[in-house]
Amino acid sequence: MHTIRFFAFLLLLGLFSSCEKAIDLKLDNSAPQYVIEGTVTDETGGAKVLISQSKNFTDDNSFVGISGARVTVESDGNVYQFDATGSGVYQNLALKGIPGHTYNLTVKLDGKTYTSVSTMPQPVALDSIYVVDDEFSNNKDKTKQRLATVKYTDPAGIQNYYRFIQYIDNIKEKTIFVDEDEFTNGQTVNSRLNFNNDNDAPTREIRTGKQLTVEMECIDKAVYKYFYSLTNGASGDGNNAAPSNPQSNITGGVLGYFSAYSITRKTITVPAN
């Protein structure tokens, strides 16, 4: 359904975008909050926890990692300690997740304990990826914007949640692509990864000859809800009448999420139009 949502968004955006101007706005500042991004994947090196902190709106965009945390993940009675490998980066190279298993995250920081749990869904095969023209949008040079489409077969009978990550020449697209099988249960799905190149960055454009990689993550329901509400409620785009912080699956009062997910990915060279 996200294609339809995106369309409705475009329609409204088109009608109402007229005159934009950056303004000085006096914003209240909230106390800095910790941000935890935790992942366990079915690939080696995928067990990683990033800890950072929120800043004031007027500050710059360099976010420093928070060190000094004790990070562990428990699964099936095994406890994995995560080592600090950089500023705010905690990793355990030995932990390779197994689909169907449940992972319990514990982060101890500043005398507080934050916990979360995530179950890694079974992987779903990404059949293929291909590129199509977007009916609505152009690139800056007036050529049609091109978009990636993913093709996969959704397993019947169970609820599936997906997140897609798109790379163009290894540069990660910042748009969050999430989908679920509410309307597509058990079907072969061709789903377009719609995004709005709002800063007209050439690096974000899908062009002939570029390398297009799509990573398909099978995520659990809580993580889907997190990303759904993150992109709809906290992206600052002004379309939501009531923006709010996303529903985190980490308890203890932090921003961020913990996701155990399985991965399949495809890479193609973008063919001529």
Binding site: M1, T3, R5, F7, A8, L10, L11, L12, L13, G14, L15, F16, S17, S18, C19, E20, K21, A22, I23, D24, L27, D28, S30, Q33, V35, E37, S52, Q53, S54, F57, D59, N61, F63, E135, F136, S137, D154, K172, K174, F183, T184, Q187, T188, N190, N197, D198, N199, K225, Y228, N232, G233, A234, G236, G238, N239, N240, A241, A242, P243, N245
Partner: protein, 893 residues
């Protein structure tokens, strides 16, 4: 946000509006206004001196002779012309003012200056004030006089026309169908009959039995605002009536207020009244006394209109050509209305001229209008057809961009009505509305939406005291989204439709009581969504469960004129809303997950909500010029519009109450003070209100709007409160008319699960709201107008920080609606030039300039990475309209 992305319709309209010629016209207009605004006359006609001697000369003759002697003309109606009063004047070099004061001192006539003329008017109050009471009447017993008041020229029934007894306190006004009923002591009376835009008539009657009297009022040929508005009697009914929180607008007033693109609009104009606030540019909605946009009941000839906006809110669905009258009740609705918490906007369509055939219309910058009406059988039956369509999309064809030149962007609507007078006691009306908006890109992708309503009504007069109206009403709102992506075609439809039966009766019991009572049954069918998909997307065509509800109500209300000064209306509306099968209903836990469900068969009652809704209002008239009123009303609402987009969208969901969604309730307490100033030239109104809201509905944080899950999984519930003070001062007489309205208010919500369960400002919480409207009749040809609005920005949620997820910036939010959009202010100017005016044909040109000083009001504010410096984030303000000129040509023959 994007420079060359999505279709930009506004960008297409814009150049049109900015065309040089319009600017030139605007400059001409300003120039003309500047040139002709120098003082036109130096001396008041009343200051002219005159020398004249008259002895016992009939009034009309005396006035003629005064004109001959002074050069000043007099304006008066039949009642004055046919008066048998004889006056005596002995004046030597005296001012006309002195002369008239002396000459008319003993008689019920008053004079006022009217341009260069002097208006002589019958005024019963004058004699009452001076203590000359009515002649004693020996006849005893009480009788009822009743009938219908119409316009002589068009045969249109007059709504809210007043019938008063000269020298007495008794009076009434016509109901929504022009019917009045007045019980008086037997004997001789002078009835004064007046209505907006009509000449006041004085009718002598002799009551010895119940009597039918149909009255046809003449249009006021002078078409002067002054006369039309003084038709509201001095110290009149408005002060006496217990009804408060009501605003009435005639279509003439609406047509004089400058508007966006020259399309006169009921909904935009009422937003200039106190307590009624615009939901912002780009939104067709409005807020009444801190309520949400869905808490307003919009009735067009009694049919509910579910979405009153065209082109995503820039215009309303009410074509002012077809409208006769608008009444707005701000929460204190009479018991006959129900179903919404905040307001009722009761719009009545014209019936159609039953005397002669007429065509009128207009051509504006973006739309053309045509109105045809006439008798089917003269004096007995008539029809009216009124249509309009925008043609902005015609210009899209000129675009080189194929995506744009194959786009559609228009709306049209048609109002039609016919009525038949079936004898003296029965009248039948059939009316309908059909409107559609079409918005599409590249001929394949788009959305269309529209309302359809149909009303069949039967007025029956049982006897002099007993009036009934029976209505059968259909209303429908639907939308359809069509979308083509690659090989995929999607079609999404949604629809709400009602069958409605209404019986309203009015019974004048006599003894100062009049009753109204009735029944209402509505069968709602809501189809929340149906999606059909072809192609390879894997989306399975499906349909959300249709919801059914049976919405019943009965009411009774009595208006009791306890004394000359005190009157009371008290009543009860009892509503019973039954949620019906077929369908599955759910229970949901605190997290929004379904815990269990139950299936109900077709017609099976899932739940019935019974709500007694008491309504009480009292008025106490302090003296001839002022009164105080107080009222309490409870309203229940069982249809809820669930929306989370900022401007509101045609795809917002109407949801009926279910086992989990409880009826919304509002209790409103209000008191008011009303006073006429400067000999009734000004009208001052002050009202304060406190409103308590229960069972308010809102989306959860992070709710999924497009889901096939039950809607309850996405909702949260809570309560609200709203309070405020409203002030208005209105000038009703003279060349300059208009009003200043100011509202100071607060509106808050407390919803479990939002804002840490603390009270927060509703989006529509506006501390200050000021509107100034001025209409100035420069001369016979030109009328100038201006309005200015200022209001506190909406309560919105701004970030209080930022952080990164996956290397992308997101924002931290703390308090819901804890911030404010910048304050809004705007000035609009308008000018109307009468071009040609004969008895058969008249035409005029209307110029308007919306946002005359081009203030960049915030439509919304969003946050993003700075485009030039990605290491920074910035706040960006979006503005919709600055300087929008327009020109409209209107004609009538």
């Amino acid at each position: 946000m994007k420079k060359n992305g999505p279709p930009r319709f506004s960008n297409l309209i814009y150049p049109l509006m900015k065309l040089q010629q319009f600017l030139r016209i605007f400059f001409c207009m300003v120039l003309m206004a500047a040139v002709s605004s120098k003082p036109v006359f130096a001396q008041s006609p009343l200051d002219k001196t005159v020398t004249i001697n008259l002895n016992n000369v009939p009034l009309k003759q005396a006035l003629d002779q005064l004109t001959a002697a002074s050069g000043v003309r007099f304006t008066y109606n039949e009642a004055v012309a046919s008066s048998d009063v004889k006056i005596t004047i002995n004046a030597k070099g005296q001012s006309l003012r002195q002369v008239l004061e002396v000459a008319l001192a003993a008689y019920p006539y008053v004079f006022t200056e009217l341009d260069q003329d002097i208006l002589i008017r019958y005024d019963a109050m004058k004699i009452k004030k001076s203590g000359a009471g009515p002649a004693a009447n020996p006849v005893t017993g009480k009788y009822t006089i009743s009938g219908t008041i119409t316009s002589k020229q068009s045969g249109e029934t007059m709504i809210g026309a007043t019938v008063r007894v000269a020298n007495g306190a008794q009076g009434t006004s016509t109901n929504g169908y022009g019917f009045y009923s007045l019980t008086l002591p037997a004997g001789d009376h002078q009835l004064i009959v007046s209505a907006v835009g009509q000449k006041t008539m004085v009718i002598p009657i002799s009551l010895t039995a119940d009597k039918r009297l149909n009255i046809a009022l003449e249009d006021n040929a002078q078409e002067l605002q002054t006369v039309t508005i003084t038709a509201t009697p001095q110290g009149g009914r408005d002060l006496k009536s217990p009804q408060m929180g009501v605003e009435k607008l005639s279509i003439k007033e609406i047509n004089n207020v400058p508007v966006l693109l020259g399309e006169h609009d009921v909904i935009k104009t009422i937003q200039l009244l106190p307590g009624i606030k615009s939901a912002g540019e780009g939104s067709g909605g409005f807020y009444v006394r801190g309520g949400a946009t869905d808490q307003n009941l919009l009735l067009l000839d009694e049919a509910t209109v579910y979405n009153a906006s065209h082109l995503l809110g820039f215009f309303s669905t009410f074509n002012s050509d077809a409208i006769k009258n608008v009444n707005i009740y701000k929460g204190d609705m009479p018991a006959q209305y129900g179903g919404r918490l905040s307001s009722v906007v009761d719009i009545k369509m014209n019936d159609g001229n039953n005397q002669q055939f007429g065509v009128s219309g207009g051509i504006g910058v973006i739309a053309a209008r045509l109105n045809v009406e006439g008798p089917i059988q003269k004096g007995k039956s008539s029809f009216l057809i009124s249509a309009r369509r925008t043609y902005a999309d015609a210009f899209l064809k000129f675009s080189k961009d194929t995506m744009i030149n194959r786009s559609q962007l228009y709306f049209y609507d048609i109002n039609a009505k016919a009525n038949y007078i079936l004898g003296d006691k029965d009248r039948l009306y059939v009316s309908g509305y059909f409107g559609k908006d079409v918005l599409s890109v590249d001929n394949v992708n788009g959305i269309n939406w529209g309302n359809t309503t149909a009303t069949l009504r039967w007025n029956h007069i049982f006897n002099n005291r007993f009036f009934s109206n029976t209505s059968f009403i259909y209303s429908n709102y639907d939308y359809e989204i069509k979308l083509k992506q690659d090989v995929n075609n999607y079609n999404i439809t949604s629809r709400i439709h009602d069958w409605n039966f209404k019986e309203d009766m009015q019974y004048d019991i006599g003894g100062d009581h009049s009753l109204s009572f009735g029944l209402n049954s509505i069968y709602h069918t809501i189809k929340p969504g149906e999606i059909s998909a072809t192609g390879n997307s894997g989306i399975i065509s499906q349909k959300l469960e249709t919801r059914y509800a049976f919405d019943n109500a009965a009411y009774i209300s009595d208006t009791w004129k306890a004394t000359d000064r005190f009157s009371l209306t008290y009543g009860l509306r009892l509503s019973a809303f039954s949620v019906l099968g077929e369908g599955t209903f759910y229970n949901v836990n605190a997290d929004g997950d379904i815990t269990d469900s139950k299936h109900y068969n077709s017609g099976q009652v899932v739940k019935t909500y019974v709500n007694p809704e008491p309504r009480v209002a009292a008025a106490f008239q302090l003296n001839d010029i002022s009164s105080v009123k107080a009222s309490y009303a409870r309203n229940a609402q069982n249809l809820h519009l669930i929306s989370n987009s900022t401007p509101g969208s045609p795809t917002d969901k109407w949801v009926a109450s279910t086992n989990l969604i409880k009826p919304e309730l509002a209790d409103q307490f209000s008191i008011g003070y009303y006073r006429d100033l400067a000999e009734h030239k000004y009208e001052f109104t002050a009202e304060i209100y406190y409103k308590r809201l229960q069972n308010q509905v809102d989306y959860r944080n992070g709710a999924n709007i497009f889901t096939n899950q039950p809607i309850e999984t996405q909702l949260l519930y809570g309560k609200g409160r709203a309070y405020g003070a409203e002030f208005m001062i209105k000038k009703k007489v003279g060349r300059l008319t208009g009003w200043v309205s100011y509202t100071l208010s607060k509106s808050e919500r407390l919803i479990d699960g939002i804002n840490n369960n603390q009270w927060y400002n509703a989006r529509q919480d506006r501390t200050h709201d000021l509107a100034l409207v001025g209409i100035y009749k420069l001369n016979e040809k030109w009328t100038l107008s201006a309005n200015f609005v200022y209001y506190t920005g909406d309560a919105v949620t701004y970030p209080s920080g930022k952080y990164q997820i996956d290397g992308v910036n997101y924002y931290v939010y703390t308090n819901r609606n804890g911030s404010r959009l910048p304050d809004y202010n705007r000035l609009d100017l308008g000018a109307t030039k009468q071009l040609k005016k004969t008895k058969k044909y008249s035409s005029e040109l209307t110029f308007s300039l919306y946002n005359a000083y081009g203030n960049r009001n915030a439509y919304r504010i969003f946050f993003r990475d700075n485009k030039d410096d990605p290491n920074r984030t910035e706040a960006v303000k979006t503005t919709l309209f600055t300087y929008v000129p327009s020109i409209t040509y209107n004609f009538k023959f």
